[in-house]
Amino acid sequence: MRKRPVFKKTKTIIFLVLVYTITLGIGLALFSENIHIEGTANTLTYECDESLNVTLTKLDLENNRYTIGDIPPRVIIEDEYLVENELFLVYRAIHRNSPANRVTNLSFKLNNTYPFVLSEGETYVTYSSQNNNLFNVNSYLSLNTVPIGSDVTVSVSFNTRLNNLSEEVSTTIKIEYIVNECHKYFYFHIILLPML
């Protein structure tokens, strides 16, 4: 019996494999498909400049209060005003012989000219007091996370003996806030006038 040539056998096998693969491929392609989403996004320019400045748009001193207990007032609010976005509070002493122990809650609204969302953990405020010896101002902030347009409250207490007060004294409180590594500040001043 004549042997079938090897080349013919190989051709047959290859042909059968090809037919099987194509059939399988057609079967698979029929029951699968992809759908696509194509997208783009872009950001505007970001600069750490004056556009990140906070402005004070509201002064609210209605929360002024005395310390706990029934200590009568030692100072009164004589004036309050803004000068180039710096808040000035003017108090006048009304009782000479007792320490002033007044707590004032300063509430003001932050209004970013550049609409930023400030996130906790990255944005915080610190405070410092440039003081003289007759003043002891403690201030703290009621919150560290500052969303757009939030009210920020700073509490200020005076621990000063007014019987020594013969002339005007003042202190400046600086508040620092950070927006994505941009350091910004705003200030407010407390002025204490002696008794009339």
């Binding site: 498909e33 759908i35 696509h36 989403i37 997208g39 872009n42 950001t43 609409p115 969302v117």
Partner: protein, 168 residues
């Protein structure tokens, strides 16, 4: 004597066999079942709807192609870190064959400043014929970013296959 017995036995046997065959033939018959079957299935997944929501400091658009196989999203002019938008998407199996989502491939979302997130979609979720499946994509400028003036191109490919886990 013996010869006589054989003369009776063999014809008797033959007669018995013939009788048996005949009886068998009388009490047996073959039933035939004839029939035909055909397949007419259609495998077709499409984008049904796409709309924007939760837009903050940006100008997003979402457009489905005419053949409903491609969705184009543009989130332009992200104004500040934290700005962004969500695109709510509904995919529908408009075919007759049950499908299952096998692969999700995202490219171009490796920029830490502009983030692309898929919400509510994962692999191996089936979608039967006529069924809808909603999910969303969120694109935003990371609130932790300090770099502006950037842009990205991204793609999301959803690979559907026939769901072999239904029926026979």
């Amino acid at each position: 004597m013996r010869e006589r017995r054989f003369n009776i036995l063999i014809p008797g046997l033959v007669l018995a066999i013939i009788g048996l065959i005949g009886a068998y033939a009388l009490f047996g018959e073959v039933l035939y079942i004839g029939g035909t079957a055909g397949t007419t299935g259609e495998f077709d997944i499409q984008f049904l709807t796409a709309s924007t929501s939760d837009v903050v400091g940006s100008n997003p658009t979402a457009t489905i192609s005419v053949d409903r196989k491609t969705l184009t999203i543009n989130v332009e002019d992200l104004e500040y870190p934290g700005a962004g938008a969500q695109i709510d998407i509904v995919v529908k199996n408009v075919g007759t064959i049950s499908a299952i989502l096998r692969t999700i491939t995202i490219t171009g979302n490796d920029d830490p400043d502009i983030v692309v997130e898929l919400i509510g979609v994962e692999e191996d979720i089936p979608i039967d014929a006529g069924e809808e499946y909603p999910f969303a994509i969120r694109v935003y400028w990371s609130s932790q970013s300090t770099t502006g003036d950037k842009s990205i191109n991204f793609t999301v490919e959803l690979g559907y296959e026939q769901n072999t886990g239904v029926g026979y």
